[in-house]
Symmetry: C2
Subunit: 137 residues, 2 copies
DNA sequence: CGCAATCCGTAGCCATTGCTACATTTTAGA
DNA sequence: TCTAAAATGTAGCAATGGCTACGGATTGCG
């Protein structure tokens, strides 16, 4: 999305970018959470977490491993690389801000949890900062 | 018989639903806007709008036609069905609320336009109502 | 009128993320 | 120990949305 790009088309290109990062963000966040909760993260645990088949998880884990966010050996638990752990921390904090923010403006917890799961990936630095200001003020 | 879905997996399933509707929502909104602005909506105009190739637009238009949201004949302008027009109206209003809301909490216009393009599709009725309350209050 | 530019459709490629069915490995219990 | 269950991997299919290349239709202009 460079020079000749019409201004009105930029938001759509950015949204496509957000979606391209979404799986990675949700997976590292999930791996961090599951390890924090139960000590290790298994393919089947991720499958239950996202309510998808273990096959889907297995393939995505392989891709994220190529991107150096995770590592795992066959039939072994999944772990985060330093890069993955850094991303997980950032994503988890952003998710928490979005969730707290929705609750702060009066959304019930259940709907805040649902909507924040999708919204988080589209919250840029400026919007995140605005939400933090709102929560502090 | 229904399987008992784990509570923590529900937000992800809902997010997948939101994404499944996203293209339809953005396209009917774009068609409505383009017709309002220039009288008719052409494949190439949509391609410029989203910054994708005309081939991508053409295939998606065909799918949305099967879903009775649009109709078009080869080499003719694209029009909204009543169903499509109804959806466009709802989507456009929701988008406007999200955009106004982001600006109201202090996000600059440019970033509000970018983030709202993705966020809109994840804003459920409860969250939308909360945003409207905030804007009125 | 006629032709060239423009618009649009089709063919066919890729990546991603769903799935089921089946194969293989690991683990746990009798 | 040793075998059955559980966990994981592999094969292969579908839908969606990106793309380029190319061909046909429409339109505008000289
Ligand atoms: Mn998410
Ligand atoms: Mn999340
Ligand atoms: Mn999204
Ligand atoms: Mn949008």
């Amino acid at each position: 999305m460079e020079e000749k790009t019409k201004a009105r088309s930029i938001p759509f290109a950015r949204t496509r970018d957000h979606h391209a990062n979404e799986t990675a963000e949700d997976y590292v966040e999930a791996v961090a959470d599951i390890i924090a909760k139960s000590g290790e993260c298994r393919v089947l645990e991720l499958a239950r977490h996202f309510n998808v088949s273990h096959v889907t998880v297995s393939r995505i884990v392989k891709r994220l491993q190529n991107e150096r966010l995770l590592h795992s050996q066959p039939y072994r638990p999944i772990e985060l690389t330093p890069k993955g752990a850094t991303l997980a921390k950032r994503v988890r904090e952003r998710h928490q801000v979005v969730l707290d923010f929705l609750i702060a403006i009066g959304v019930d917890k259940r709907n805040a949890e649902i909507d924040s799961e999708g919204i988080e990936h589209h919250v840029g630095l400026k919007t995140l900062a605005a939400m933090k200001r709102f929560l502090k003020g």
